[in-house]
Subunit: 152 residues, 3 copies
């Protein structure tokens, strides 16, 4: 029988927390767009051209803004961690892990990544961001171990 049905609690947990994780990642685009607009920092020449005709102002718009770069880096860190995690989640669920253990992994990962993003964007004191990263990474390693050893 396939593990990929909503009757399987581990899988429906993945759909829920994986969905939340991807929503959190998508939200980074909104944060970046917000900073781009409020700080007038555009990524391309044609964007600045739409907003003003003054060549001096255009040049200023193309200078990287600190807040924009910060939310971009947080977004990139999500691509390095969240996207592989949800993908791994699918492989992991196919090995029929106990539902309670699976959901615990997903829950820890999700909240760890929320902490990571908030710490990055709001410049929380170090090592807040590192703690978020590490907890999420540990959940990933634990799932990798279970997945690979199950089919070895």
């Amino acid at each position: 029988m396939s593990a990929f049905t909503l009757e399987n609690e581990a899988f429906s947990g993945l759909v829920f927390y994986g969905g939340l994780c991807l929503a959190k990642t998508a939200a980074m685009s909104v944060v970046t767009a917000y900073h781009r607009i409020t700080k007038g920092a555009m990524p391309t020449e044609e964007d600045s051209r739409m907003l003003t005709k003054d060549p001096e102002k255009r040049k200023k718009m193309l200078v990287p803004n600190d807040d924009v770069e910060r939310s971009r880096k947080a977004h990139l860190n999500d691509l390095e961690n969240v996207v592989p995690f949800v993908l791994l989640g699918l492989l992991y669920v196919s090995t029929n892990p106990p539902a309670g253990s699976a959901i615990l992994h997903f829950k820890i990962f999700f909240w760890a990544r929320v902490l990571h993003s908030v710490a990055y964007i709001c410049k929380l004191r170090s090592p807040s961001r590192g703690v978020g990263f590490f907890l999420g990474f540990a959940a990933t390693i634990s799932m990798l171990y279970r997945t690979i050893s199950a089919v070895y």
Copy 2:
């Protein structure tokens, strides 16, 4: 019964459009490679070393080229949007959405991303790229909503 069989129209739609989306993303590597070769802009010192022995020419090869950076940024934007979308598509299909609605989401997303990439690489006038981004993002949000609320 599993939703992940080709008899399920929503799933086979995802396999088709998801496959096209990933092919489009892979094509960005080809565009970048093309610009790297024709403009002689290499990413690492060891690449330039293979191409010429002249240390002056090598240094020039390591200066970032505008066209290369442009296709790299378009590629990165695909990583931020296309890869999470196809992954989300798998979670979404498991909630048994109506096939017509599912395929409409996939179709809109695919063509929106084609517009985004063409606008980025060919420097189409703003807001062409933004429209492509926004349509794709809207399809993603709609699928996120359906997915998370189905298992909540």
Copy 3:
């Protein structure tokens, strides 16, 4: 019947090699962290603040380090190639490819990416890195072709 069960050899091959590929990608975070710590190169101001009170030393910590940038670029290249590959693997397996052919694709891809990362991080002579990239890319294209044409 669903293709996504461990009794399906092609799928269990994907779980194994896909898991290894994602583990290799996660390992890039460890390599980056190692270089950040040994070279004292931090990504944010708040990290440097935790490590020293001397404002001069802090500034130096924020200068990008060559080894850190190298492992970051190798990581980014994995995001462009490994993550889409494993995701594509799921779509590909649903088209019921012959198990032997599927596992051959996964195996070639995995070892090609190991070569790519080692070549990048250890600065192996060009075109080692390029060969790793190309073999992995060829496996991806072959799977894309099979997947899209199966549902066209």
